[in-house]
């Protein structure tokens, strides 16, 4: 069976600082008409430096029923790719072959008009997205039910709350029945429960054998929804494979691009610590759960390990080694030390030692954190390196729900409905 989407050698060129590719003002156009006979002055030839390729030689194909996530940082070419696939912009070179009816959702509520009522907008939006009038009429009740707008059906949408607006917009889109669905970031809107509903609807769509191309910054959603991932970097396709690996490839790409992110942190040298401290701490390595160097940001909820090299010039009794995680505002969030491990044998140390710390699940939500490393003996600080390094934690689907936690910490919980057997206990609490 032929692939549903076939992209070959797709390139798209833009010119910087100019809209499009030719004369951008009428005056310029007229001037060119007059100067055309005499040829263009040298300086006016389109300079090579002003052009840039938003997409360069992209090639991939998608089989029927696949759900593919397209990831990449801003400016990597994701949106341009979607725009070419949706026929909004034309490629400079290459071909795209689409087999089947395609609908693209580059935003929810395309064409929604604030002055029109919910009912009117359903027909307007549905038609623009490619549904026939009969189709919309048949799905009308389903759309209204999904959107939960009830009594507001005949109210102009300008009076809707933003939540209602988004729900209605997504409801129309979700009831499209294309063979190929191209979705851009629509899940970035709406409240959590609605996002959940949208995710559910999308996996329903894919389970019906439809092909979905999904562009998002929400790694949790990509991980949850897609089997396969495509990574774009500076207009080129740099990875095509399993979604989990694609996310990893994307994340390592970010950190490689970031300045000086390394898993090996030198703790030696002046300026790292206050003068009166003894230089005990030498080096720290950031490792992932399996002990391989952590060169990418850490995914939320993942295990990590730290290897701290210390050198004791003279014997030290009851050594305590620890690391603290501070917010970028300097607030201590969590501290891990040998003193907080019941199984740590303790002891006196001389010479070089490597301390290995395993953190089964870092409870911090996505963000930047600063690490502080210290060595103490019976409560007295011997050595401490403030701001030893920064650690970036990125979103992941750690709960398997596609939802992200809020707050500083990512904690697990389990929920159930109370049953009569719980009554005694509850009364006890009330009493």
């Amino acid at each position: 069976m032929k692939p549903v989407i076939e992209v070959e050698g797709l390139s798209k060129r833009y010119y910087r600082g100019r809209a499009g590719n030719s004369n951008s003002t009428l005056r310029e156009a007229l001037m060119n008409v007059f100067t055309a006979g005499r040829g263009r002055p040298e300086g006016q030839a389109p300079s090579q430096s002003s052009e840039f390729w938003a997409l360069r030689e992209i090639g991939f194909s998608v089989r029927e029923g696949e759900v593919v996530g397209v990831i990449g940082s801003n400016g990597a070419g994701k949106s341009t790719l979607l725009k070419v696939l949706s026929r909004i912009t034309e490629p400079t070179a290459g071909t795209v072959t689409l087999r089947g009816r395609m609908a693209s959702l580059l935003e929810v509520g395309t064409g929604f008009h604030p002055e029109l009522t919910g009912r009117e907008n359903i027909f307007l939006n549905g038609t623009i997205l490619g549904m026939s009038r009969q189709e919309i009429a048949r799905k009308f009740d389903e759309i209204v039910a999904f959107a939960e707008i009830g009594d507001f059906l005949d109210t102009p949408v300008k009076h809707y709350s933003s939540g209602m607006y988004v729900r209605l917009a997504f409801a129309v889109s979700a009831n499209l029945a294309p063979d190929i669905l191209v979705v851009d970031e629509v899940l970035a809107v709406g409240d959590v429960s609605f996002q959940k509903k949208c995710l559910g609807k999308m996996s329903e769509v894919s389970s019906q054998g439809r092909t979905v191309l999904f562009v998002s910054h929400n790694m949790a959603a990509v991980e949850n929804l897609c089997q396969r991932g495509i990574v774009l970097r500076q207009g080129r396709l740099v990875f095509d494979g399993a979604a989990k690996d694609a996310i990893q490839s994307y994340l390592s790409g970010i950190s490689a691009g970031a300045s000086g992110v390394t898993h090996r942190i030198n703790l030696q040298g002046p300026g790292q610590r206050q003068r009166h401290y003894t230089e005990i701490l030498r080096e720290m390595q950031l490792l992932d759960g399996s002990g391989t160097p952590l060169t990418a940001p850490l995914s939320m909820g993942q295990p990590m390990q730290l290897a701290i090299d210390a050198h004791f010039a003279r014997p030290v009794r009851d050594v305590e080694i620890g690391v603290g995680f501070d917010s970028i505002f300097g607030q201590r969030l969590v501290t891990y030390t040998t003193a907080l491990d019941a199984n740590w044998p303790g002891g006196n140390f001389t010479g070089a030692h490597r301390f290995l710390c395993r953190i089964p699940e870092l409870p911090l939500t996505a963000g930047e954190y600063r690490l502080k490393v210290f060595a103490r003996t019976s409560g007295v600080v011997l050595d401490a390196v403030e701001n030893a390094c920064q650690l970036q934690v990125v979103e992941s689907d750690m709960f398997g729900t596609g939802n992200q936690p809020y707050g500083a910490f990512a904690g697990r919980s389990s929920w159930r409905l109370a049953v009569p057997e719980d009554a005694d206990h509850l009364e006890l609490l009330n009493g």
Binding site: N23, S86, R87, I88, E90, A93, R101, T127, A177
Partner: protein, 300 residues
Amino acid sequence: MPMANCEGEKKSMGTSNAEMCLEGSPEKAREEHVIRARSGWQPVHFRELWYYRGVLYIMAWRDIKLRYRQTVLGGAWAVLQPLLAMLIFTVFFGRVGRFQSGDTPYAIFAYAGLLPWTFFSNAVTLSSNSLLGNQALVSKVYFPRLFIPLGAIGALLLDLLVGLGLAFVLLFYYHRPLYLTLLLLPFFMVAAVGASAGVGLVLAALNVRYRDVKYVVPFLVQMGMFVTPIIYPVNVAPAWTRPILALNPMTGVVLGFRYALLGEGMDWALTAGSLAVALVLFVGSVFLFRRMEVEFGDVI
């Protein structure tokens, strides 16, 4: 640099296929669609236009719904626009200027001309701004771009029909008979749409890149009023103006409306020339629009 373009090749497109897709039937015939870079003049894909016809309808419907929303007088504006213009011109030119409109009262003479002209001037103004006014659509979803300005023009047909109703009231008021020439009216209404689209499509496409158009349109419409025999009979125009009148795509439409409604003597040579210009303009503007359309998504 070559302009990029996209070519839609659709096999077995149509509502029936859409229905099949909906049911998810496994053996449905797949439409195949190839997107590739192309440049220059583009053919008009009638099949695609037919497939998306619902969009043209909904765009016109939306404009009608919106036009008079939150106005006190609502749909009455469709009648008031040509009526007020008629009153003004009747006072100034019928009384003061003393234009000879034969045995036809000047009021209905002017109204019969103002009716298609009001349609034309509104159509040109609205359609030339239509792409910019629907930027969100142009940059977020695909359907034939022609339908955006054409929808704006289509919505004005309702106003034209309402205005026509008033024309019959006026004819009745002035005890005028109806002539058999009235049967030609639908033809001249089609010509009015063609002439409006001929000018509107070009301006709409140019407006995407050159925002100068916005300032040009009001002048164009104002000037057009004087080089079209709306407020004066065509026989008072000096002979040297005839080529100008013949090149004006609206001359034929205005004369035609008057002929159909008032049974006036008809200047067929002038009308035929003008209608031919309108036809050429319409076809040319569709192709120019198609040619420029490829860059709308990038430029708008």
